[in-house]
Symmetry: C2
Subunit: 103 residues, 2 copies
């Protein structure tokens, strides 16, 4: 299961990039995790740049502090959809999102 493997990776401290050649991850799974973690990390960076706490940001996107925490760590329970909508709420453009993905 993809989610479980991602969970393992994160528990072991794996971050952006460098997830290749590990366990039985297919290229597809690797790319998906990479993509998600890049967007998550970017979200955290932007929130901090704007000097917002997770609670403040959660109110902006009508969510909760705990979900923001999960968003920023690429938790298996969050969708790329929600990460992208959160980035857009911070004023991120599609081109910036594209740059993040290909970083």
């Amino acid at each position: 299961m993809t989610s479980e493997k991602q969970e393992i990776l994160e528990k072991k401290g794996w971050k952006i990039g460098s997830v290749k050649d590990f366990l039985g991850l297919t290229e597809e799974e690797e790319s998906y995790i990479d993509l998600k973690l890049k967007l998550s990390a970017n979200l955290r960076k932007l929130r901090i740049d704007r000097k917002l706490t997770q609670i403040e940001f959660a109110r902006m996107i009508k969510s909760s502090q705990s979900r923001v925490a999960k968003l920023e760590t690429g938790d298996p329970s969050v969708s790329i959809d929600l990460i992208i909508r959160s980035l857009l709420a911070l004023g991120t453009s599609n081109k910036e999102i594209a740059r993040t993905i290909s970083s």
Copy 2:
């Protein structure tokens, strides 16, 4: 509601780009729809390039023909997550996905 507005847009034949300054769409909603439609269109293009029918492709991603049809038209009921996983299943790289988004 975002989904309803997107639905209206699509019923009226709106496609990639040019969704700005319409109804009460916020920048955020516009960007989200744009992003989704670009990825959807790219998915259809790649499937056709590979000479696959929707039924054949549906089997590859363990889904159904009807969902593939919805994926390719950016139906409000499909998530960006599924579109991205479908693109990855066709061997698309993250960089290619990024290029599609900023096209």
